[in-house]
């Protein structure tokens, strides 16, 4: 899922300060922790309380959108509110914020989150770990399902560097696992150490250069 962190409330207040009626748009899509209706209501109350304390009366309308990355869903979900409000605060990832801007170009839209990475959480309330950097050329088939691009601090593609000690990475002080150590152990377990002997040409970095576009035709 797409992992986001809350922005400090003061930063959000800074964006919306010139406006009074704010549409708080949650997203029920892949943003995590989930920022649906509960979060929209939470932010509505927090903003109103914070405004009151500073002498400003905000009026917030909390709603949620099934997927803020879909122009059509954004339009149908928000269109009935958009003329009543002065600004939109999106609780989605950076994609959601930009889609709302595209769909409703006449209204200011602000982010309530910092989108941090694509990752996972082993259990509720636990730490989120980055798992994928959308590099555009997936290597997981060669690396035992462990991503060196994301999980090696140096994104090395040809094995561990000299900073690896007892399977731990020098970056951050030998606390995190060395991705290449994990890859080696896993391929050994799978009996596929032969994959290390296979020649692989250097990566084509152009694939990952922004802004990227891919075709969207469905079979």
């Amino acid at each position: 899922m797409i992992v986001t962190r809350e922005k400090p409330l003061d930063e959000i207040l800074g964006y919306i300060w010139p406006f009074t009626k704010i549409l708080i748009a949650g997203c029920d899509g892949c943003v995590h922790p989930p920022r649906g209706l509960r979060e929209a209501k939470t932010y509505a109350l927090m903003i109103e309380m914070a405004g009151k304390a500073k002498g400003k009366q905000f009026e917030c309308i909390p709603v949620t959108v099934a997927k803020q990355c879909d122009n059509n869903i954004v339009y149908t979900s928000l269109q009935s509110y958009i003329n009543e409000v002065d600004a939109v605060l999106s609780l989605a990832c950076g994609v959601g914020v930009q889609v709302i801007v595209e769909v409703f170009p006449d209204i200011p839209v602000f982010p309530a989150q910092n989108t941090v990475f694509m990752g996972s959480q082993p259990k509720e309330g636990a730490i989120f770990y980055e798992k994928c950097r959308a590099c555009g050329e997936c290597l997981l088939g060669y690396t035992g399902g462990i991503c060196p691009v994301t999980r090696c601090a140096k994104s090395l593609l040809n094995g561990p560097c000299g900073g690896q000690v007892n399977g731990k990475c020098e970056v951050g002080g030998w606390v995190r696992d060395c991705a290449w150590y994990l890859i080696y152990q896993r391929l050994k377990k799978l009996g596929r150490l032969d994959l290390f002997e296979e020649f692989r040409p250097p990566r084509d970095q152009r694939i990952a250069s922004s802004p990227r576009e891919v075709g969207g035709l469905v079979r």
Binding site: D28, P34, G36, R38, E39, M49, Q121, K123, E124, G125
Partner: protein, 394 residues
């Protein structure tokens, strides 16, 4: 009670050392002193279900709450008021009004004629009390314990079911007729509104009983045989898609809203408006008084199945409505009737406090860990909290 601050004690003069309490205690909190042939209570292990007290043949175990005399008084008053049917429900599964009505009607009882007594565990009701009720003029009694696998005290429900069977045969022998006493069972379990569910999986990851799965195309499903009704899933669901009858987000939210004006307008510097979100197992008297409509000192009490049901949004709502402080009342650390619901609540409260610190309200939310077996613990925590809130600038 006379025994310091504890709510339960063994009266050594009455105890005959039969050992029934030792075998029935679900928590191995009672042992037999071989030498003296007396039961010994380990208050640290005791969860305060009262099963020992209700099964003691000599009435040697004294409990501070729901004593025989107190319950009989209640019944007497009810009978005088024309309520000739006695319905005993368990705190953990008491059905909401409408459902209770249906349940009573199924046993051809008119709900308006029923006096409802709610006890922390149906298993703590003595057979003696039921017989006394008969002599007091009760025409029919219905005991509604939890469903067997739903009992918060492991054996309370089973014990009460067996007692009903025993009593019914006794009633038949006495010529009263076994139908004087009937049995119904109840449970409050989580239900998913498939229309609202977004399939995020948070409930499934959170459920301490692994009772929730996400089925394709992404809708949560609760396995009723595993759900214990703690309500943690309700508190974390981002879409308000899960409900437990009586403890739904909307239901509690409306209660806080409708009561807010009363408490907020009555607040003073000495009597701030306080909201208590109270686990139904951590405190008895305040909750009973709230059920009867008696208010504590400007303290609004909301009962929850477990502290883990505490919803951060309810707390934020209460603060925005003008409550000066919100106290979450949870069971003592090792006494949760579920799976560490109190500790999970503590974690979530600390995260909420950090969030609230952005608007300067972190100090107005606290969690207290108390047990009804220490009689003054709850009142002490509450007054400490009220004192702290009074000292904050408004």
């Amino acid at each position: 009670m006379g025994e310091g601050e504890y709510g339960m004690r063994v009266n050594e003069n009455l105890c005959g050392g039969c050992g029934i309490c030792v075998s029935i205690c679900p928590y191995e909190a009672i042992t037999l002193d071989e030498e003296k042939q007396r039961a010994v209570l380990d208050l640290e292990k005791c969860m305060f279900c009262g099963l020992c007290a209700s099964s003691c043949p000599s009435g040697a175990i004294e409990v501070a709450y729901y004593e025989l005399d107190e319950l009989c008084d209640y019944v007497k008053k009810a009978v005088d008021a024309g309520k000739r049917v006695l319905a005993i429900t368990c705190r953990g599964s008491t059905p909401p009004e409408e459902e209770l009505k249906r349940m009573l009607e199924a046993h051809s009882i008119n709900a308006d004629e029923a006096a409802v007594v709610t006890v922390p565990c149906a298993g703590r009701v003595r057979m003696e009390f039921l017989l006394k009720s008969y002599t007091l003029g009760v025409e029919k009694a219905i005991l509604i314990p939890c469903e067997a696998d739903y009992c918060r005290f492991k054996r309370g429900s089973t014990a009460s079911v067996k007692r009903v069977a025993l009593l019914r045969s006794l009633l038949a022998t006495l010529g009263i007729g076994e139908d004087w006493l009937v049995l119904a069972q109840s449970a409050r379990r989580a239900e998913v509104d498939a229309y609202r569910c977004q399939g995020c999986g948070r409930c499934a990851l959170t459920c301490p009983y692994e009772a929730i799965t996400i089925n394709p195309p992404g809708i949560a499903e609760v396995d009723a045989s595993k759900c214990m009704g703690c309500g943690l899933c309700l508190a974390v669901c981002p879409a308000f898609a899960i409900s437990i009858k009586g403890f739904e987000y909307d239901e509690i939210s409306q209660r806080i809203r409708s009561e807010a004006s009363k408490y907020v307008s009555a607040k003073t510097r000495e009597k701030p408006a306080i909201l208590l979100l109270c686990c139904q197992w951590s405190e008895y008297t305040a909750l009973d008084e709230a059920r009867e409509g008696k208010a504590l000192d400007n303290v609004c009490v909301v009962e929850l199945p477990c502290a883990s049901r505490v919803d951060s949004l309810h707390i934020i709502e209460a603060l925005s409505l003008g409550f000066d402080g919100v106290l979450v009342v949870a069971c003592r650390k090792d006494e949760c009737k579920f799976e560490d619901g109190n500790l999970k609540a503590e974690e979530r409260i600390s995260a909420l406090k950090e969030f609230l610190s952005q608007v300067g309200l972190a100090d107005r939310v606290e969690i207290a860990f108390v047990s009804p077996k220490y009689l003054s613990e709850f009142r002490d925590s509450l007054s400490k909290f009220v004192e702290k809130i009074s000292s904050l600038s408004p």
